[in-house]
Point group: C3
Chain length 249, copies 3
């Protein structure tokens, strides 16, 4: 069974490799596909969105994800069943959006005290000590003996909702990608300015002159804001969760 | 058959992982080797150089490369046959240097309307929707039914040529690597200054004191400029395509 | 046999992929696990620490590591036997800490003139031309014919030792991770300030308010210094090898 892995560990440290090593120790023939480790540190919302976008293009398997600002605290470690897939990671909202792409969470297990975990469990590296061993054993097709929990009690991220004020839509930045493009939570529309600057609707970056702002549908179909040849995040000084005003007319 | 993948997607986002996921869905037993995803965004020239340098050290297979500023516009999507290899990517010059390492482009196909592509095709993520499925099916040994096109009509990058002005050679930066070392398009020679600063010829960085400029033959044999313990790109404020003056005597 | 690979090549360039390509050419069925390529350029000490921390979690195999400021000079290229493992890389101290996790260096070989190396050997890319071919052939189970050398003559990094000055411990930064957290060479203790700033002992980042300094045991059990939601390295202006004053009371 395929095992995928997404995190905020960064692509450069040894943390990602150590998790691969733990998986290879337990399940040497399981193929592991990295889904990116450049989630901004502790940005659970961006991690959740990336995981949910990626999984529909990935074969069913065990999907390990670790963006875990509450590591070492009281948050639970969980394995969730959604369709034919297993999602493994912290109970902080990271896995829910992805589960909903496959019919939602069917069953949920608290794996914090898994017999598969590596002892001693560190306070800060549950990716290595708990999540990787659980994911690897699941990828071998082994069954869980852990406590089943109520999916309704899983932690969810607060929802960000755009609102209308006259001709203005007040939206939020849902995510900043590696190019500085911003994903917004607004519907597409006839907007003439964003954050007080003129903007042009387009199909792609090249539809506007270099340095200009363009509003377009990203590869997932959502409304996104970019600068041709630049970073919209840097130009506008915006981060995930920030409000953005979109003006019509 | 081995499949390799180079892009400007950056190592951190989920884009690289999604492409791996699409490949794993179609060709689960094909091995995929990443050839780097840190090409500066939309820098086709650097991507072309890296691909051409890497492939002679990589077994023959299907070589996917995506640096694609024209995505969603009128540029063609192509699969090129060079020796025993397939090169798959946009028709913007990215693949040509690599093909020439293997005898040039033997046959070329327009795969933009490939029956293998994922529908609906997005405007901005052809790596996922067109190039990855085409590469994966080719790696399975399947045959192409797409329109064959004339290799002579493929897009090529404009050539940068160094020129001589008296004792000065006016060269260009062909590439900036991750350490800020600059690859130049000049012949090695008896240069005493670069961009107005003193420079020493050497075999490697350690041949000059920390902070000094050194001209050396890089691992590919081309002329390169580095700072021992620093970034020549930052020190000199230079980017790909910029002119650099090399003075003799 | 598993082959692992750690370097300072950075995750974005083609260098890592070229090494993978060389390995795939020689040993197409050997699995390669990356242990991270974001070691700060030429920072042998950080590379040595990361390798030593990672390997206990990785199955025995051939462990290739390249952080090599002396490339092209007189430093030796070596393959070291430690327990059931092979360590391959430059003789500059990079491999020793890892070997000591497995009983120390049992046998050592100078592989700089290996019959397996790729000719012509470049002056600057021994990862491709010497280390990768040697590691790949070892991973196939082939035997070495190279000159055996005395393990006692291997290069070791100078040891950094914390010292006590009254109520103050003068420690060193052993490493900066990707989040800007600092690993120190001091024992844990009752410290009230670090580098002149107040610090709180904790189990994890979340034990202090955002922006505050916390001293904690990292996932390896060593003393580490972090800022909740920030970079301790940036806040304190510290790099690997720098001194840090820890004050009690």
């Amino acid at each position: 069974m395929l095992l995928t892995f997404l995190s905020d560990y960064g692509p450069g440290d040894e943390y990602v490799g150590v998790v691969h090593g733990v998986i290879a120790s337990i399940a040497p023939d399981v193929r592991v596909v990295d889904l990116g480790h450049g989630v901004p540190p502790q940005d659970v919302r961006t991690g959740a969105r990336r995981l949910a976008r990626a999984l529909p293009f990935v074969p069913a398997g065990v999907h390990l994800a670790v963006v875990d600002p509450g590591v070492g605290g009281s948050r639970r470690a969980v394995a969730l069943r959604a369709g034919e897939r297993w999602l493994v990671g912290p109970d902080n909202g990271l896995l829910i959006d992805a589960a909903e792409r496959f019919g939602g969470v069917g069953r949920a297990f608290d794996v914090g005290a898994s017999p598969w975990r590596l002892e001693p469990v560190s306070a800060t590296f549950h990716g290595r000590d708990i999540f990787a061993p659980v994911a690897a054993h699941l990828a071998l097709g082994e069954g869980l003996d852990d406590t089943e929990i109520d999916p309704a009690g899983l932690v969810r991220l607060p929802e960000l909702r755009a609102r209308r004020e006259g001709d203005t839509v007040v939206a939020h930045v849902l995510e900043v990608d590696g190019f500085g493009n911003l994903r917004l939570n607004a519907e597409s529309g006839e907007y003439s300015s964003v954050a007080g600057r003129p903007v042009t609707p387009g199909r792609t970056f090249g539809d506007v002159p270099p340095g200009d702002l363009v509003l377009y549908a990203d590869s997932d179909g959502g409304l996104a804001l970019a600068v041709n040849g630049g970073s919209a995040a840097a130009l506008l000084g915006l981060r995930t969760g920030d409000e953005v005003r979109l003006d019509a007319g």
